[in-house]
């Protein structure tokens, strides 16, 4: 038997992994046109030459980004958002869990946000929230699971670190993302890709 197992749509596991990891990929160009302008300073590289192009300057600080309204979050229903940019693995979720959690915001300290990319090998955890255990996972690739009440610590599995937690602030009814605790899968630096 070959090691290359194919799923129902005929994709190998490696192909499927790549597909899930990039499910919400927005190109950098779309990102620039769309939302990034509040925090991204454009500079022109190679000005005056045929290779001149506009690229974002290095972001050295985490952007402060509005992500959701507290009053609109329903218990145990994750709401997806992108942060700190809209590049690969910027997909995150914010969820009101109904139980107090490490880093939780809101009157009950039960609203937390986490990145969706498994910190083992980058499988997407999108859609894997479990309300009975307040966890993300198991990752479809190698079954890692994360405890969202405890800063995304690994419950069981193979990841090399906790799931990156998105730092939140609340202003009135507005929830803002203001930073990330932990390196996002696939990147060498959270802010420089």
């Amino acid at each position: 038997m070959s090691q290359e197992v194919k799923n129902e749509s005929g994709m190998t596991r490696k192909e499927a992994a790549k597909a899930v990891g990039h499910k919400c990929l927005v190109s950098r160009r779309n990102f620039l046109i769309g939302t990034g302008v509040t925090t991204t300073i454009m500079i022109t590289m190679n000005a005056g030459t045929s290779e001149a192009k506009e690229v974002p300057a290095q972001i050295t600080e985490y952007p402060r980004k509005f992500i959701a309204k507290l009053s609109e979050l329903k218990e145990d229903e994750p709401f997806d958002f992108n942060y700190p940019d809209e590049s690969d693995y910027s997909e995150n979720m914010v969820v009101k869990m109904g139980v107090k959690a490490g880093g939780g915001v809101g009157p009950n300290q039960d609203v937390v946000a986490f990145n969706y990319a498994c910190t083992h090998q980058g499988g997407s955890l999108d859609g894997s929230y479990k309300k009975d255990t307040k966890s993300l996972g198991a990752c479809p690739l190698h079954l890692s699971t994360y405890d969202l009440t405890r800063h995304g610590i690994l419950i069981s599995g193979q990841a090399y670190q906790s799931l990156p937690q998105i730092l939140l602030e609340v202003e009135g009814d507005d929830i803002y993302a203001t930073g990330i605790f932990g390196l996002i899968y696939g990147r060498k630096d959270n802010l420089q890709g």
Binding site: L154, G182, L191
Partner: protein
């Protein structure tokens, strides 16, 4: 040591294009995934960039899933030739074997954190030889420490006999080291007081496999994937040999394999199997034999056994009586079988016995084992019921410690018979073997002197010495302990610790001088007065054996600090390369032993480097499962050293036994006992050898022995240990994240954050009855821990049984207590608790009886019993930074 405060980094340096790439394999579990070390100097500040043309991976960042991502825990800074260097250590993304897909576990994945770095928690590596003077371990020179150790060693042997010099050593930490150690201990000191880290006596771990003719590590990893039904007993490979699960078994399950787990605890692998058409047989500790024989009975009653296979490959009366070619009396085979308890005249004789045992009837076995009878029935059908088209399912059987350390002899006999009747063993996808624990790094440089052992079975041969009982009784005068905690990893740990203290620090004769003669005079008085000197060789100061009891400490070099050879669980042999400097004056164990041996006056220890040792030991692998003598032959033909030849093979290595083709190329062995393999008809040429195990089983005839497995040989101990009153079973094992329990994992901030304290899983029902919640601090106690008082000579047939030992007054009862953080969970069977197997200060092994399996001489470690009570709340109950109480059985 690390504190539980892990602050994650938000960026990581990448190796530049010109970083050096060095191949190695993981140091930890049996699977031994292939890894690449990327090394570049800190000086100059030249790191790799995010674009493919600017880093050593030729990859654009962010990388794709399964890509060469570098987690911050995969980077470290080490000294290489005295200069600081970055190292990034990630699984080999190009490997064709073992960890295909470039996969890794959490353990190996973070192995960069193993490396000594004075700015990290590894800073307390042992860096200098030390001697305890005025109660304090002080640095001394190698020459001084070795001289004192050798002189007292010679004195002990001369005055108190060879068996007074005890050697307790790892069995796995690289072939060069184990060869040197066993050459020293067995060939030269010639002591019967010798054993390995995981057993009190130097005996087979799986007596039933040995009797049946199965090698422990015959199968190839692809066989575990290609089986249509896979029975896994006593382990969840996802937790403890991850890549064997994620790259092989999990792919099998995705292709329709039915995986049946027989364990009392549901972890992710078990839950995944159950969710995908498999089965969870939640067996009560120690009752595996009953379930296995109930399955066998259903198969026989329905005539589902593999008749063709049995006809061809199972010994009849004459075959099973033909001995093992070692004489008729002095073989393990003979003493186990001549009572008539195990040996049969073949399948029919075995089946007749099986059907005559009431305890194996489905309803009886189901009741005692606490497993739903319908699930046992289903397991039998999955394993052996012919399909609609009349073909049989391809069935394989995997066992590991939860199983063979529960009823060592009985369980391994029973599973061998079940394996035989379902046709497992000897064909692709139809195999039987161990999953494995540590890697296979043992090569013996001497023969165990069995006839010097004072232990003798009634009417039969001598048995390897139970070194724990021997030491507890005060017969060991010098304990040479190499790379093991000894005390916490053996049973009745707390009594052992107290006794070790009495024999060492509790003895009035303590070194209070730096004068050589006075030191020797003191140590001689110690051993002559019934005390014990401890020499400890390790990479860290281990508590208590090194920290509290040792007189002399030798600092050892380890993985990455020397070139070493080792094999994995499919006999794949690789070179684990040196890539950085060992800390301080730490030296590899083979070097320490060679220096000590020379001072003892032994010859044959003049090695200059680890390749010299490897070239000497290669010939002693001949005939074994990791026979690689022909690699040495090929290397020398090509003008290379043995290590150089293995270096060229990189992470692929080669599977033993290795054969050389006529054109000089080397060929590995995919699986042992491969009845489908065709060997050259004109026999082995030149230095090649064809071992029987290549194409047949390990018995005189080459066929399997089908053996009986009587419950009555174990049931007295099981009934005795069984929880009484409000006691619960308290079994133990590894947790994935804390697999490397004793030294590395306690120095990884992330792992210590995840598991900051000893823990015990308690079922929700049992916890509720006792008012225990997750996060509570609990006390586990046992006021009736049995232990053997002294080694005995068996005279009557029942002398060695637990009942016999009790009757003869050789069993002592004592109390034990350990604390733990409670984890209340649905994922462990009611009536059973599960504890981390080796916390240095709160060892689970303290709660299990220090009584060896009377037939094999191994411990049944998993048979612990305890009362549990809340004593308060742990700091983790209401804080969020550390630990998690979520269940380990969450799957997709």
């Amino acid at each position: 040591m690390s504190t539980p405060y892990y602050i994650p980094d938000e960026n990581v340096p990448l190796p530049p294009v010109d970083a050096e790439v060095i191949t190695t394999a993981c140091d930890y579990c049996i699977v031994a995934c292939g890894y690449k070390v990327y090394r570049w100097p800190v000086k100059g500040g030249k790191n790799g960039g995010a674009t493919a043309d600017s880093n050593a991976f030729d990859a654009d960042f962010p990388v794709a899933p399964l890509g060469p991502w570098v987690a911050p825990n995969q980077h470290n800074i080490v000294l290489h030739e005295g200069e600081p260097h970055h190292v990034v250590i990630i699984p080999d993304k190009d490997t064709e074997f073992v960890n295909t897909d470039g996969d890794s576990s959490l353990r190996g994945g973070c192995i960069a954190q193993k490396c000594y770095n004075p700015e990290k928690p590894t800073r307390d590596r042992l860096k200098s030889p030390m001697m305890r003077i005025y109660g304090i371990l002080q640095p001394v020179t190698w020459d001084f420490a070795l001289d004192i150790a050798a002189e007292i060693g010679k004195y002990v042997i001369k005055k108190h006999g060879h068996n007074a010099y005890g050697v307790k050593t790892f069995s796995y930490q690289y072939m060069e080291n184990t060869y040197a150690i066993s050459k020293y201990a067995l060939r030269h000191i010639n002591t019967a007081n010798f054993t390995f880290h995981d057993t009190p006596s130097d005996v087979s771990s799986t007596p039933g496999f040995r009797d049946a003719g199965f090698d422990n590590f015959g199968p190839a990893y692809e066989d575990w994937m290609n089986a249509e039904t896979l029975l896994i007993c006593g382990t969840d490979p996802y937790e403890t040999k991850t890549i064997l699960f994620t790259q092989w078994i999990m792919k099998g399950i995705q292709n329709g394999q039915k995986a049946i787990f027989m364990v009392p605890r549901k972890t992710a692998g078990v839950a995944y199997a159950e969710q995908n058409g498999g089965l969870y047989l939640d067996v009560t500790p120690g009752t595996d034999l009953l379930v296995v024989n109930a399955i066998a009975r259903i198969i026989v009653e329905n005539g589902w056994q593999d008749k063709e296979w049995i006809e061809k490959w199972v010994n009849d009366k004459w075959g099973s009586s033909s001995g093992f070619g070692q004489g008729t009396r002095n073989t393990p085979w003979q003493w186990r079988t001549t009572w008539g308890k195990f040996q049969t005249n073949g399948f029919d004789d075995w089946a007749k016995w099986l059907l005559a045992q009431d305890e194996f009837k489905l309803e009886n076995a189901a009741e005692v084992a606490g497993v739903d009878a319908a699930k046992i029935q289903l397991a039998a059908e999955m394993m052996a019921k012919p399909k609609a088209d009349g073909t049989r399912p391809k069935t394989s059987v995997m066992i590991e410690k939860g199983f063979y350390w529960s009823n060592n002899t009985g369980n391994t006999q029973a599973i061998s018979a079940l394996g035989i009747i379902v046709g497992a063993g000897g064909r692709p996808g139809q195999v039987i073997g161990r999953a494995g624990g540590h890697q296979r790094g043992g090569v013996k440089g001497g023969k165990y002197p069995r006839n010097k052992s004072p232990m003798k079975l009634p009417g039969r041969r001598r048995r390897a010495l139970d070194t724990d009982t021997w030491t507890m009784a005060g017969h060991t005068r010098l304990a040479h302990v190499i790379g093991t905690t000894w005390i916490q990893s053996m049973l009745g740990s707390q009594q052992m610790s107290a006794r070790f203290h009495e024999l060492t620090r509790g003895n009035p004769h303590q070194i209070q001088s730096i004068n050589r003669e006075k030191i020797l005079e003191t140590l001689k008085k110690r051993v002559d007065s019934g005390g014990m000197v401890v020499v400890n060789q390790d990479i860290y100061l281990v508590d208590p054996i090194g920290n509290q009891f040792a007189d002399i400490i030798f600092p050892a070099a380890t993985w990455g600090e020397e070139d070493f050879l080792r094999a994995n669980g499919e006999r794949r042999i690789r070179l684990y390369q040196k890539f950085y400097d060992a800390p301080g004056e730490a030296k590899p164990d083979w070097w320490i032993i060679s220096q000590l041996a020379k001072k003892m006056g032994f010859s044959g220890f003049d090695w200059e480097n680890s390749n010299d040792v490897a070239e000497e030991l290669a010939k002693f692998t001949r005939g074994s499962r990791k026979d690689f003598n022909m690699v040495k032959v090929a290397a020398h033909r090509e003008g290379k050293t043995l290590h150089e030849k293995f270096r060229e093979m990189g992470t692929n290595g080669i599977q033993g036994p290795v054969y050389m083709n006529d054109d000089g190329s080397l060929e590995g062995t995919v699986r042992l006992h491969d009845t489908t393999r065709k060997l050259a008809t004109d026999g082995p040429a030149a230095l090649n050898m064809f071992n029987k195990k290549l194409t047949h089983f390990n018995s005189q005839t080459g066929k399997c022995n089908i053996q009986k497995s009587p419950w009555s040989l174990f049931s007295d101990y099981w009934e005795w240990m069984k929880p009484k009153g409000d006691e619960l079973w308290c079994t133990s094992g590894r947790a994935n994240e804390r697999w490397q329990s004793g030294f590395d994992d306690t120095r990884r901030p992330y792992i210590v954050q995840r598991w900051p304290d000893n823990w015990v899983e308690i079922n929700e029902e049992d916890a509720a009855k006792r008012g225990i919640e997750s996060g509570d601090m609990v006390l586990l106690s046992n006021d009736r821990v049995p232990s053997l008082k002294d080694t005995t000579l068996g005279v009557e047939g029942s002398d060695y049984s637990f009942t016999g030992q009790l009757a003869n007054g050789n069993v002592e009862l004592s109390e034990a207590a350990v604390t733990a953080v409670a984890m209340v969970t649905r994922a462990v069977k009611p009536g059973v608790m599960y504890m981390d197997f080796l916390h240095a200060s709160q060892p689970a092994n303290a709660l299990a009886g220090r009584v060896v399996d009377w037939i094999s001489g191994n411990y049944n470690y998993k048979m612990g019993t305890a009362k549990v009570a809340k004593i308060g709340e742990s700091p983790y109950k209401n804080s969020f930074r550390s630990m998690s109480f979520a269940p380990r059985d969450i799957v997709i």
